[in-house]
């Protein structure tokens, strides 16, 4: 089975330019529902579920290989090679941001531009670098995840959604519950333990960063650090809150897409 098929890949849309939509931790490709019509009018839209996510996600998950962000980047490159596309517009949310950046470093010719929503190259504070988390806080998070996944989701989902949007919270909770708890725990260890700052320093592709003014997972300093560090980057801070603006404030996100992406259409 191809990697694209095993990750429940979908390819839709009327355009020629390929656009890859890659979701973040705890969601699946349905997270793009609000933005998908806009993309389908303009692009050749490719989406999939990250390993470990979506229905029966555990089947695609390899505890060794997906113990690193690079394992996901290898999956992404494999999909693009399978589909035989190049010069893609890549839209990644949350963990998929640095996955796309890593893939672009390894295979620059595959990517025309990267749009990274809620990106963070490192969640742990490190000296002057502010990632927003310290080790004690993360240990506490992993402990409560392992102890009672249900209870953890009930607290984590509203915090990450960050706005009083019952539907988004319900959607996010549903897809979190869809993950097998051990996979969810290992995935969050991989994300929160990652340090992709070197990747950020060498991304050869133009990058558009989008983040909300208030995001519990990604402090504003992180967006500013990425903007300053990535060789060719823009940062748009949108007037919204939470870590999932593509779900809770799609019109704000689309406004940025209109400005940043329409020039790329062939």
């Amino acid at each position: 089975m191809s990697c694209f098929a095993s990750l429940h890949g979908r390819r839709t849309g009327a355009g020629k330019t390929p656009a890859i939509l890659s979701h973040g931790f705890g969601t699946d490709q349905d997270a793009w529902s609000a933005l998908r019509p806009w993309f389908e009018e303009r692009f050749d839209v490719i989406s999939f579920d990250l390993a470990g996510c979506g229905p029966e996600g555990a089947e695609s998950y390899d505890f060794d290989r997906h113990g690193s962000m690079f394992g996901y980047a290898d999956d992404l490159i494999e999909i693009i090679d399978e589909l035989g596309v190049q010069n893609c517009v890549y839209v990644g949310h949350s963990m998929s941001s640095m996955i796309g950046a890593a893939a672009a470093c390894a295979r620059p010719e595959l990517f025309a531009t990267l749009v990274l929503i809620g990106a963070s190259p490192r969640y742990l504070n490190d000296g002057a670098y502010v990632g927003g988390f310290d080790q004690d806080g993360l240990d506490e998070l992993f402990k409560s995840m392992a102890a009672n996944f249900q209870a953890w989701v009930a607290g984590f989902a509203p915090m990450v959604v960050g706005v009083d949007d019952g539907e988004a919270i319900a959607d996010f909770s549903r897809t979190l519950f869809q993950m097998r708890p051990d996979v969810a725990l290992n995935t969050s260890r991989t994300i929160f333990g990652s340090d992709m700052r070197d990747t950020a320093r060498r991304v050869p592709t133009p990058v558009h960063l989008i983040q909300t003014a208030s995001d519990v997972a990604v402090p504003l300093q992180v967006g500013k650090w990425l903007e300053a560090t990535i060789p060719n980057a823009t940062l748009d801070v949108i007037d919204a809150s939470g870590h999932l603006p593509h779900m809770t404030a799609p019109e704000e996100v689309l406004r940025i897409f209109e400005r940043r992406l329409t020039g790329l259409l062939s």
Binding site: S68, F70, D74, I77, E78, A106
Partner: protein, 439 residues
């Protein structure tokens, strides 16, 4: 624990990188499906696993000459470990059992000026393969030991394992709790004192000492003993286990307190009469053999008494079965109260009871039988508002058992006592008849 084979692999990678002027050298353990575990690298780098199945590395016929890298799909992690995009690469296959696609991967970010040693790097293949194999074995052993430990702690028994060399020993957490020392590895000599102390704390310690003392020098000794520690009983199984030498031995401590309690309870249920709590007829027959044997050995007289409640059918018919049951319970209690602890007293069936006693002389038989009769008849049995006068007839017989013929004694003795009982009934009830002389 870092096995020395890992250090050797780091050194081999470092040597290859310097000799070949490469930018990155990775020792890879790769299984048949292309799943690659980077085991060591130079410069050292913290790699996670990746898959090389579709990288092209295994579709290439490798010679001693590096080839251009852009024909390969290298894992993202490998590209990121380089300061720049790779330009050339060389793979030195070093197949290992169970990891047939293993080898050394060398990468250059500049077209390599042919370093003089590149063509000889293949000579490292067999060293790399054997080092990968020994590292794999070391990892396997660690994994096995971890698995063994998990197993050891999941067993509901205390385990003390002495190695075959007689020098070292290992105990799990349950055993550590019993022996009041820490779980894990110990010198064998350190466990001798705690083991002895535990045995000496046992209520049946003298019996255990005797059982084990005779076997001290026997390396093949195997036994299961009950160690009674206050209200807990442990089944302690010891037997030799194969080891490097002859001294391998395991001790398994299993708490069987609950099982023993249940077994005792079941045995009691099977042996006793549910109404009176007395031994039932079957249990009487089992126990009587012990009494007869003991009396035979001591040359003492035994007396057998058959006790039958008078007019019991009438009590039942007049007052109903619950009252009849209460009368039987009262009779049982009154008899038991006047007998000695060592006397066997059982419900033989219906309203008939049986006693087997050891006596100094047959003359005592009548005295005891009269005492029973009197105890039954002395006061009325009160059941609720009813006060029922109860009497019993008793037939008795005596014998002096011979050890050679124990099994044949009981039946004629019962028959004689039964005949005497019949005469007591005929003689007007509420009386004692002792059959003449020993059978």
């Amino acid at each position: 624990m870092i096995p020395s084979s890992i250090e050797a692999l780091y050194e081999l990678c470092g040597f290859a990188r310097v000799a070949c002027e490469a930018d990155l050298v990775i020792a890879l353990e790769v299984d048949g499906a292309g799943r690659a575990s980077p085991v060591a690298s130079s410069p050292p780098h913290d790699f996670s696993c990746f898959n090389l199945a579709r990288s092209g590395v295994f579709d290439t016929k490798w010679s001693a000459i590096p080839v251009t890298a852009n024909a390969f799909r290298l894992p993202t992690a490998v590209v990121h470990a380089l300061p720049d995009m790779p330009v050339s690469l060389l793979f030195v296959p070093a197949p290992v059992e169970h990891a047939p696609q293993s080898g050394l991967l060398l990468l250059w970010t500049q077209p390599p000026s042919p370093a003089p040693l590149v063509e000889h790097v293949r000579l490292l293949a067999s060293s790399i393969a054997s080092t990968l194999a020994s590292r794999r074995e070391a990892v396997r052993q660690v994994a096995m030991r971890d698995q063994f430990n998990d197993l050891l702690e999941s067993v509901p028994s205390g385990i003390v394992l002495f190695d075959g060399d007689g020098q070292s020993a290992m105990i799990n957490e349950r055993a550590a709790g019993l022996l009041a020392c820490s779980p894990g590895f110990h010198r064998a000599s350190e466990l001798v004192a705690p083991m002895r102390a535990l045995r000496e704390r046992c209520d049946n310690h003298a019996e255990l000492e005797a059982a084990y003392a005779s076997q001290v020098r026997n390396v093949h000794y195997a036994a299961i003993q009950h160690w009674v520690l206050g209200d807990r009983t442990y089944e302690v199984d010891t037997h030799p286990v194969s080891g490097d030498d002859q001294h391998g031995r395991i001790w398994l401590f299993t708490d069987v307190t609950a099982e023993l309690r249940i077994a005792a309870k079941l045995r009691g249920l099977a042996q006793s009469d549910p109404l009176t709590g007395l031994p039932n007829r079957r249990h009487f027959e089992e126990r009587s053999a012990q009494i007869l044997t003991a009396a035979g050995t001591a040359g003492r007289t035994v007396a057998l008494l058959m006790v039958d409640v008078d007019h019991f059918k009438q009590i039942n018919d007049t007052h109903g079965h619950p009252v009849g049951d209460a009368v039987l319970k009262a009779v049982a209690r009154r008899c038991r109260d006047v007998l000695r602890d060592q006397d066997l007293f059982a419900r033989f069936g219906g309203e008939e009871f049986i006693a087997l006693l050891t006596l100094a002389t047959s003359d005592e038989t009548r005295v005891i039988a009269e005492r029973l009769r009197g105890a039954i008849a002395e006061t009325s049995v009160v059941v609720g508002d009813l006060s029922i006068g109860v009497t019993a007839s008793i037939g008795a017989a005596t014998d002096i058992p011979m050890n050679s013929a124990i099994s044949g004694i009981l039946e004629p003795l019962i028959a004689k006592a039964d005949a005497a009982l019949y005469r007591a009934k005929q003689g007007g009830r509420n009386c004692v008849i002792v059959a003449d002389g020993p059978a």
